[in-house]
Symmetry: C2
Subunit: 313 residues, 2 copies
């Protein structure tokens, strides 16, 4: 079975662990969000790609769900001592090594897809990890500050302001020129099933679907498409998706998120929707499953993955 997953960071990575356990023989391709990428201190940082790579490769800080295990923070201390902004990004030393290797390979002329494959040679995530695009796309957040309205990088909004500064809009800078990365459209077209895991619909899955050709490939492809709600009881399980949904006028509600993606029958993307028992049911045009969506441990995560794939295959 060929399973293609559109992935953000923490939630997607956890779900992918379950998917790999539940379907050890499957060919899993992950199309990773790169719109939260940022250049920091001259280094190209790809938080979502790295979260997936570290999680599946056994190098994640399991407690936080992001960043490296056994991490040290000497560099961050030094950058503070040098007083070189920005200082709101938690840049661990081990993580910096990844960014150094990535930046060096990018500067040598390799595409982000090739660089990601090179990094994955070490981590052996057991999936094929493809950046949504090799082109630079950055999510910027429109906010009002005492100095007036401005657009700041998503990572600044997230890291410095903890999403407390109301987001008026999200802009995927560079999106109009961005082409899907090598293999991305093919991975959707060749899939037996396409999954939208419990990632942030606005700033994780949203950018992937906004890359020219990707939404069409998902909507008009032969494979059934199934989504998993990351909203439980009206709140995101992790992260700040509610703040992001509010900015685009979507309620932080499992059913509203499924309506945001839309049922394929009604011109949307989804064939199936998996959501937390007790939450509002999605449109009847969708195959749906109310179940326990919380990924407490390896067993419950694999079970969720099995139920999700099972719903549409």
């Amino acid at each position: 079975m060929r399973i293609t997953v559109l992935a953000g960071g923490v939630g997607a990575a956890r779900f992918l662990q379950g998917l790999r356990t539940a379907y050890p023989e499957a060919q899993i391709t992950v199309i990773g969000n790169t719109a939260d990428d940022i250049w920091l201190h001259g280094l190209k940082v790809c938080p979502d790609l790295d979260t997936v790579m570290y999680t599946l490769g056994g190098g994640i800080d399991a407690g936080r769900g992001w960043g490296r295990d056994d991490e040290t923070y000497s560099i961050l201390e030094e950058l503070r001592a040098y007083d070189v902004p920005p200082l709101w990004f938690t840049l661990g030393d081990r993580d910096v090594a990844t960014h150094l290797v990535r930046t060096q390979l990018l500067n040598a002329g390799f595409g982000l897809d090739q660089v990601t494959a090179a990094l994955c040679k070490r981590w052996q995530p057991g999936v094929t990890l493809l950046p949504m695009s090799n082109d630079r796309v950055e999510t910027h957040v429109v906010v009002d500050t005492p100095e007036g309205r401005s657009a700041i990088h998503f990572q600044q909004w997230w890291g410095q302001y903890r999403a407390e500064l109301p987001a008026l809009d999200f802009r995927f800078v560079g999106m109009e020129q961005a082409q899907p990365g090598p293999g991305v459209v093919e991975a959707i077209g060749d899939a037996d099933v396409v999954v939208l895991p419990p990632s942030n619909p606005v700033v994780s899955i949203g950018p992937i679907l906004s890359v020219q050709g990707i939404r069409d490939a998902v909507a008009s492809g032969p494979a059934p498409v199934v989504g998993v709600s990351g909203i439980v009881g009206g709140r995101p399980v992790k992260g700040m998706a509610d703040k992001c949904l509010a900015a685009i006028g979507v309620q932080a509600d499992s059913a509203a998120v499924s309506a945001h993606y839309g049922a394929r029958q009604l011109g949307g993307l989804l064939d199936g929707w998996v959501y937390e028992s007790g939450d509002p049911a999605p449109d009847a045009a969708l195959a749906s499953l109310a179940t326990s969506t919380l990924m407490h441990d390896a067993h419950s995560t694999a079970e969720l993955a099995r139920e999700t794939i099972g719903l549409v295959t």
Copy 2:
């Protein structure tokens, strides 16, 4: 008093500590060797400048004499795990922060002199630290390997081969185009005394003197020039200067090194020479002082500095 010092790494940095202690009111300008600079993993590394900056700024690993105190090595461990060469350079995490800041500023278009000044804002070394040149110069070492004759970067010869691979020649790649850094020639011309501290004559002081205009500025400037031998009892106090001297046909001998610089009266650079008691005396054309040149502690180091300056002023 204005004192200008041509400086390599460890020996010069130690001497400068003594000089600063002995002459707290002096304006000390350090012209730093940049020919051992290297681009590593996309980062601009300036070992000699950093050794001076860290030593005088209180951030040096005092035991080794180079690198940062309280250092961690997470990045190096990761680079080994990624198997990304070169791995023979001991790149500490705190040190990497310096290189990140430097590289980012260089990429923003600042000259190495400006970047060095920016880094020194934090370290407050108590001297003005000027790179010998803002232009890229790299010392390469001609060696015979089983694969034939080749030229490798000085840092590779030093770090990977521990200078055990016989050096057939040293080449300062880029030297012909290199201009003295801003303020360098002026610092020599305006000095009350110029010092060649106990640095490697071949790969530390040698490149500085090879930058177009610097040797002339020293030789024909108004200030007396005094050198301190880094060779004691026919061996370098620290480092591998004997291997370097052999490559250019100079004996590892204090008197031979003074002859290599030459007495100003005889068309060379030096007015005075300070060397270890018991070692061979230099040419009689030089004012000379046989004394204890070992910089055991703060007191003996300051005393050596005082004797050195006193010999020619």
